[in-house]
Amino acid sequence: MTAPLLELRGVRAGYGIIDVLHGVDLVLEPGQVVALLGPNGAGKSTTLGVASGQIQPSAGQLLIGGREVNGAKPDALARAGVCLVPEGRGIFPNLTVSENIRMMTFSGRSYIEVQDKAYALFPRLGERRRQLAGTLSGGEQQMLAMARAMSTDPALLMLDELSMGLAPIIVEELYGQVAELASGGLSILIVEQFAQTVLGVADTAAIMLHGRITRTGPPNEIAEELTAAYLGIDVGGHDK
């Protein structure tokens, strides 16, 4: 595969008649980890919604593996290997851990297969397989969401606000897992509001403000500019 795994070209999208994205350009190469950072309301989750096929762009192109896939159904993309772990984890709180994992057999993989993969990745879930997912700790719920995602063997993993509501030590543990997945060659697009941990994992980072990507670059450079970008201060002549 020579084309980028995921590419957004001039994407505009929103909800009803309200546009949230005003021409987003983003590239994710195979095996790359890209961190998309920005304050609340910048359009980060909407970008993931477009990339996963849940929100149709009103203009621009969504390309996966070099092919324009505007209009592809989200379930078809999910079956192909585009996997989104949504903000708020997206688990079924009133099902047990093992039942949540069983839901991932939609991908055509056997229950044994998805179960083995999930528990190998997060052994703690194996110990709690009969527990209701809603009664797990926040970190364990996030582990369950990630385990569910990984059990389908995705080619492209998108994580929305992995750290939301979690203690720093748990966030570090989860990002350790993400780094391990990335070292295995998985392409990952991470959306985060608070960036310090994710910048240690990413190959490239992008800042998103008001529905546009205003800056893309190496994580160390982006880290310096991030605070200024959040506060709307012009740094080094970069477009804000």
């Binding site: 595969m1 195979p30 593996g65 092919r67 209009g71 592809a72 290997g81």
Partner: protein, 119 residues
Amino acid sequence: MSDETSPRLQEFQEQVDGLKLSGGKANPERTTVRLAIALFVVAVVLEVVAYTGSTGTSNALEQNDFLILAILGVVVALGAVALFIRASMTRYFRYWLVRLIYEDRASTDRIVEAIKDAD
């Protein structure tokens, strides 16, 4: 960067290439609403033509033709209204469903929190 020719990526590429695309739309009801408005305009034109035509002749047979044209205009107008209502309701119920799902999730979260607090 990983090995770019890994079997998983090849499989992924094949699956993406095999996707059937419908040319999705951000606002799927937009076309229906536009069609309904266009039909309504056509209906109004038909009524105006029928009215001016029928008042411009004293021949009963010609007036019958214009009467039929007027009835056709009413039918087209009713169809346009039905299409418009259908599209509007679809959009309304879609947002309603999203709202229900959102509230259901929030409610579940509150229950889970309450159970945790009780423990």
